[in-house]
Amino acid sequence: MAPTLLVQTISSVVAASTPLVFAGLGETLTEKAGVTNLSLDGTILLSAMTAFAVAYLSGSLLLGILAAMLVGALIALLVAWGSIALKQNQVAIGFVLTLLCADLSSFLGRPFVRIPGPSVPHLPIPGLVAIPVVGPILFNHNLLVYLSFALAIGVWLWIGHTRQGLVLRSVGERPESAYARGVNVHRTRYLYTLLGGALVGLAGATYSLSVKLGWSHRHTAGEGWIALAIVIFGGWSPWRVVLGAYFFGALKSLGSLMQPAFPDVPTQVFQAAPFALMIVVLVLASGDLKERLLALMHPRMRRLLSGMVRAGPPAALGKPFEPD
C-alpha cells in the first residue's frame, strides 16, 4: 500500500470511529457511577434521526446536534429514574428502551429517508494539517472529530485526576462509603447518567451529520451494542475505550479494503468479519489467555503491563443504593 493511501485510510478510520468514541466515553461515565444504560443502540438511532431531521428543518447544524444530545439525555433520564427512583432492573429498562427508540426512529424518520441534507463542514486546521503523516491523520477533519479528541482527554483527566472524578468512582464502587463521606449518591448517579446519555446522543448526531450522512431505516443499527462491548472490554478505562473504538473502526475499513481483492467471497462476510474479529480480540485482551501470556513475561515487564490491562467493572454497577 502506498504511504499516502495508508495515511488516508487511517485518517478515514479516525473520522468513522468518532461516534463510537463519543458513545463509549459517555457510557463509561455512566457506568463509572454504577448505572448501566443499555439503551445505547436505540438511543443512537433516535438521536441520529433527530439530529438530521432538526438540522434539515431548521437549517441549523448546531440546533440538530443539541436536539440529539437532548434526546440522548432524556432517554438516559428514563433509565436513571427507573433504576434509581423506582429501583427497577436496569437491564430490563435498557432493553425495552432500545426496542422502543429503534421503532420510534423508523416511524418518526419516514419523511427524512434518503433525502439530501446538511452535513458538518470539513475544517482542516491551518498549519497543523501540514505536519507530515500526523497532520492528515489528526487535523484534516471536522469540528466534531476535534471535539472527540478533546473529550477523550477531558474524560480521562476528569475521572483520574479531579476530586469530582474521585467522587464518581467511589459512587460506582461503593456507594455506602461515598454516602458516609457526604456524597449525594443519587444526585451523582442522575448527573452522570444524563451526561453520558447526552454524549450518546452526540454520537448519533455524528453519524447522520458527519459519518454516514442522512437518514435511512435502521441507519446505525448495531453500533450501540458495539459501544457497550467496547466499554466492557476496555475495562471502564477511558483511554482504552477510545483505543477500542478506533480499533473497531480499523477492522471495518480493512473489510471494505479487502472486498475488491476477493470478488468470489460474498460481501456479507466482509461486513460481518469486523464483529467476529472484535470478539476474538476482546477475548484475547480480557480473558484468561491474557493472564497466561503475562505469566510468561519478565516480572518487571509484567507488573508494568498488568497495571495497564487491569480491568474490572465498578463493584456497585447495576446495584441500587438506599441509605438506612
Partner: protein, 487 residues
Amino acid sequence: MRIEFRNLDKCYGSVRANDKISLTLQSGTIQGLLGENGAGKTTLMKILSGYTRADGGEVLLDGTAVTFASPAQAIAHGIGMLHQDPMDVPALSVLDNFMLGAGRGLAQQRKRSAAQLTELSRQFGFALDPDATAGSLSVGERQQLELVRLLALGVQVVVLDEPTTGISEPQKLLLFAALRKLAEQGLTVIFVSHKLAEVEALCSRAVVLRTGRVVGEVQAPFSSDQLVMMMFGQCFSRGGRPAAPLGDEVLQLDDIAVHTHQLSVEHISLGVRAGEVIGLAGLEGSGQRLLMQACAGIRRVGSGRITLAGQDMTHEPYHRYLQERVAFVPAARLEEGMIAGLQIREHVALAKGNGHLFVRWDEAEAGARRLIDEFRVVGQPTTRVQELSGGNQQRTLLGLLPEHLRLLLLEHPTRGLDVESSRWIWQRLLARRADGTAILFTSTDLDELVDHSDRIVVFSGGAMSRPVSAADVTCEQLGYLIGGRHA
C-alpha cells in the same frame, strides 16, 4: 464533647432495637458500650452518627439538641463512626480513600493530603502505604485508614463498632494505644463490643445494653461477673470442659502441599485422632483455610497424601469425602454454607433428601421443627435463612449436619456470636466427641482456641507450626506465634 441521649426509641419492624434509652457520655474518656448480639448497641451508635434516624427522643451535644440527616452532617458536628466492616472503597488507593469526602473544588491536593496522611499515621505508629489499594490491606489496616481519615476531618467523638473482630493481636494493641492517646487529647471514644476482656482493659466506664434498654452503668475497675450478669441476666464460668478419651487415628496428613496464586502451603504433616479437637490459629489468609478445604476434599492438594481412617483419599472427589462422613462448615454462612432465599425446611429437605422425585414436605416440616427445637433457633420452618440472625444461622447450619461424623471441619464456628451463644454451640460440638468425631477448627479468638482445643497449630504465611498442647500454652505465647515470632 458531652453526649446525651434522652428517651431514644427506634423500631425495625416489630423489633424494638432501642427502647427509651437515656444516657450521658463525658468527653475525654473511653466509654464502653457492652451488650450481646442484638442488644441495640449498633443501632444507638448509628443514630448518633447520622446513619439512621430515631423514631422518638433526642440527642444532645454539649446541651444542644441535634438531628442528623446523613453521616456527613454528623461528621460536620464532630462525630465519626468506624464500622465493623470499614466503610472505604476497596478499589481506590489509600490516599484516594483518605481524600474522598474532604475538601472542596475540582483540583485534588494530593501532596498536601499525602503529607497529612503520613503525619497522622506516624503519630499513631500506623504503617499505611498511600499508593496501595485499600482492598489489598488487612481489616486492621483499613480500620487505621478510617481512623486517621476521621481525625483529619476534625472529629471530636469517635465511635468504634466491634473494632477488634478480624484484626490481629499486634493491630489490636496498636489500636488500643491510639484510642488511649485520643482520650488523653480530650476526644470522646465510644467502644462498642461484646468482648468483656477488651472493655475491661480499655474503658474507664461501661454502659451495658440488653434488649434495647440500658441495664446498668459501671465505673472501672470492673467486675467481670457483674458485667456478665448485666449482659445476660445470668452468670456462668468458663472452661472446665469434660475430657474425652481419644480413639484411633482418623485423619493422617503426610507432607501436604496446596498452592494458589496468592499463597502456597507446604510440608503439612498432622495426625488427628478420634475425639480430638485441633485448633488452627493464625491471621486470616495464612493458609489455614486452604488446609481446611483440602481436608474437606474441595481443594486439590499439589502433593502429599491424605488418609482417612486408613484409606488413601488423596485426589478423591468431594462426594467421596461426604461418604466417608467428613463435614465442612465454612465461615461464609450465607454464601457457602447455606442457600440464601431458601427456607429452613427447604434446607432440611435438601440435606436429608432421600432420592425421591417429589419433596415430602410433611417430613421436611417436621425435620425443621425438630431442628428449631433442638438447636434453639429463633425462627419458623418457613423462615428464609437470610432473615435469621448470625447466631441463628450458625445454629441452623450445625443442625443440618449429619448425625454421625468422622471428621468435622469448622471455620470460625462462633465468629460474631455473643458469649452465651458461643458457649452453647461449643457444648453441642464437644458432645459429638463421644461419638468419635474429630474436630478441626479455625479461629482468631485466642481464648476460644485455648479453651476448646486439645492441640493447637499456628499458621503464619503458609507455614504451620508444630502442634502445641492447649493445656500448656498461654494466649500471649500464641499471639507471638501468630505474629510469626517465637515466644
